[in-house]
Symmetry: C2
Subunit: 254 residues, 2 copies
DNA sequence: CGGCCCACAGTGGTCCGACCACTCCAGTCG
DNA sequence: CGACTGGAGTGGTCGGACCACTGTGGGCCG
């Protein structure tokens, strides 16, 4: 694995005094950092960097690509944010397992930063995915998982602490979605249901007996799962998310 | 907003000899860069940083947060990758309009780097979203947009250049999805249908008269749109993506 | 007088070299 | 044999220097 075309690709070789023209033979594309990011992504895509594998030290890597450590660090940081790499202080840099959860963590950021009409769109997206996932779960859920769902359902109804309720609410849906068997979808829905996102949407919704309504909806979803009725599950889940969606919509158009 | 705890956080003010203990009053959490990222995200969320607005210079920002320019740059780079910020060389750093497209561009990276079973999951995700979007489009599409769809459809059938076909294929679906009226969903599907992703999935599929099949499926989708029949549109789109999905699945289980 | 051009200041992009904080492991000591 | 303690190696942070690009204002030319 000697992708080290010696000093050939050396970027520092920019002709001195090239300020005026010097763009003839060596017109690289984007920024150095951007290129470094692409290089690493390519290495992973091509397979020369396997998931879980440890990368060479920052200093070595920088030298190998012919760029400074600073630029290399920015590239690494970027890939770390994307969930592709993982840096362990004092140990090294590793390629993540590249599982859905690793890569889609950034999805939560979108939900966190979105405002206005986009909140409605995100909720609509969640409605579509969650209803389908719940439907799939109805056909595939295992007894174990169903027991877990029930555990969160009863726990949710047994407390008054909003924090606890929210936590079990999240876990309730999460367990169901996980039963659909599509980890990527689970990761996406995780982002769409992140704590801060829901907290922001729900803010102020708790008034006017929304608790009771939520409880009924959850019960309906649970019933559909027990009955192994995909259509009923889809409808119940869609109605559940749709309720929040409707409320949010009405709130934006007085 | 007094994010200037006086000289306390001043970097140069690091207590001499604090190496051994001095951890009483200032036990910050993650890395400096991570904190900087959170700070900026919070500023945006709270509204003190509006979309399109220009940020202070890197040097100023670094000084304001009491960190070095290098660390600040890494934070900025991270947010740039996430599509939250946009750096213009020589001009300044700006907050993006925070539209779905900006924030979800990273979604394409996921598709690019995923392999194995995850490819199937991504395709399943696309099937769910695209079928729903196509269904919605059937009910809402405008004559203008429908004309655009037809344009790409005929152009696609009129050439033999795989490059051209792929381009029009993408545009075909894109125009339809856009008609569903949910920009966030459009952005997600864009990522799920990115050039490299599809190219990778399709590789080798072109043999055995897949062209004809694709053509028929596209025609079916178009017919459903013209008839403004949501159910038919959903079915046609699901079948279309499902075909590729099925092929990919069979390929992975000999 | 009006429009073009250039120099300049400001900004992001890159690089360097140093030091700190942490992890890991091997060699040592009890 | 096990717990402890170094040191080597690695990522994290820092500060300063210089380059490349942009935007603008003043001066020059027509």
């Amino acid at each position: 694995m000697d992708e080290t075309p010696p000093g050939a690709t050396e970027p520092g070789a920019t002709e001195p005094g090239a300020t005026a023209h010097g763009d003839g033979p060596a017109p690289p594309k984007g920024t150095v950092t951007q290129r470094a990011i692409e290089r690493i992504k390519t290495m992973i895509r091509e397979g020369s960097l396997e998931p879980g594998q440890r990368l060479p030290a920052e200093r070595d890597l920088a030298a190998r690509l012919g760029i400074s450590r600073s630029s290399m660090r920015e590239a690494i940081r970027a890939l770390t944010i994307l969930g592709v790499l993982e840096a362990r202080h004092g140990s090294g840099i590793y390629v993540t397992r590249l599982e859905a959860g690793d890569l889609l963590e950034t999805f939560g950021v979108v939900a966190d930063l979105s405002r206005g009409p986009r909140l409605v769109e995100l909720l609509e997206l969640r409605r579509i995915l969650e209803s389908t996932a719940t439907s799939m779960a109805a056909a595939r859920i295992t007894p174990d998982r169903l027991a877990e769902v029930e555990k969160h359902l009863t726990a949710m109804n047994a407390t008054d602490d909003p924090e606890q309720i929210l936590a079990h609410d999240l876990a309730f849906h999460r367990a169901i979605v996980a039963s659909a068997g599509n980890e990527t979808m689970t990761a996406v829905l995780d982002g769409l249901s992140s704590r801060t996102f829901r907290a922001r949407v729900r803010r102020g919704d708790q008034e006017e007996g929304a608790f009771e309504r939520t409880r009924r909806e959850h019960a309906a979803i649970h019933r559909a799962l027990v009955a192994r009725d995909p259509e009923a599950a889809r409808a119940a889940a869609a109605a559940h998310v749709g309720e929040v969606e409707r409320w949010l919509r009405s709130r934006r158009e007085p």
